[in-house]
Symmetry: C2
Subunit: 197 residues, 2 copies
Amino acid sequence: MNKNIIITIDRQYGSGGRKIGEKLADKLGVAFYDRALLKRAAEESGLHEDMFKNAEKRATNLFALSLSSSPYTLSIDDEIFIAQSKTIKKVAEEGNCVIVGACADYVLKDYPNCINVFIHADIEKRKLRAINEYNMPEENIEKTITKLDKCRSTYYVHYTDNKWGKAQNYDITLDSGIGIDNAVELIKMYVNMKNKK
Amino acid sequence: MNKNIIITIDRQYGSGGRKIGEKLADKLGVAFYDRALLKRAAEESGLHEDMFKNAEKRATNLFALSLSSSPYTLSIDDEIFIAQSKTIKKVAEEGNCVIVGACADYVLKDYPNCINVFIHADIEKRKLRAINEYNMPEENIEKTITKLDKCRSTYYVHYTDNKWGKAQNYDITLDSGIGIDNAVELIKMYVNMKNKK
């Protein structure tokens, strides 16, 4: 049985979830997978890296996603999801790690030591982070954020049949308004507590 | 502006959320409202206490709840919700406190220092707690728990128009599988972190 400690982090756009994951991995001294995961999945599958990067963004609505899938053939999005899931399982076998996004909580649902985290924040804080840290254009920023979250939610629902952001699916969810470092500290405490059980 | 620290706790049936609230209030040295809130709301409104106790349990489905409400008259459930909400606002004005259930997060949504918590746990742990701690009959226990949660969810959705257990509505949500005392510790840390911001 795989005994590695795997922490998956899903997050609203602009909530700082990726940064929290990166700092948490650093504090715990474990591997961190975000873009590196997509790069590796691309290498291992032979599919182009850009296709992985934009997979969530293509998921504008469930209806279109359903149309692109058929019971007889795999769509390119299905192929990408499968390739990504294979890489997620591989990295989970290799050692302790933090994985951001990519429905990793669902892909690793049968791993006993998987701790699933969801990070969110209020819209004003997310707007500021998107503009100042991700250099997103200020115009229509709220609309852009809402649309990007809709894509993440749609992609998640389509591939997992679970609800994105439903508390019961995660070990811990946090409003990152308390600050990135505080959020890292709390998740680290949760991880320690769960490992001692 | 009200500067009292109010912590609201909503919870799945059998997750230990009430116990966590009680211990948290004790550790923080603040008032705890659960059944006491209903008792007080009954006294202040003149309505019978039993009506408050069973308000959630009557919410078996949204359709029936909607039928019992009309735009012209208040149903007994509406009257109870209003009476309860008035008492919640009063106790929030009186001082720091922990309030369990009663849609308190929604009722106090405009209070700046309100920290909203949701507690859940896996079904096996909830079954054990229901049988061993709440003395519920073992027969059909999973069905009973599912039904009680459905009532809580329906009641919440009807009166708040929000989703029950949606991470984004809470400051912190936790799987209480880490243990009651650990959950209390984590929420206490969150409260301290938020107050320092």
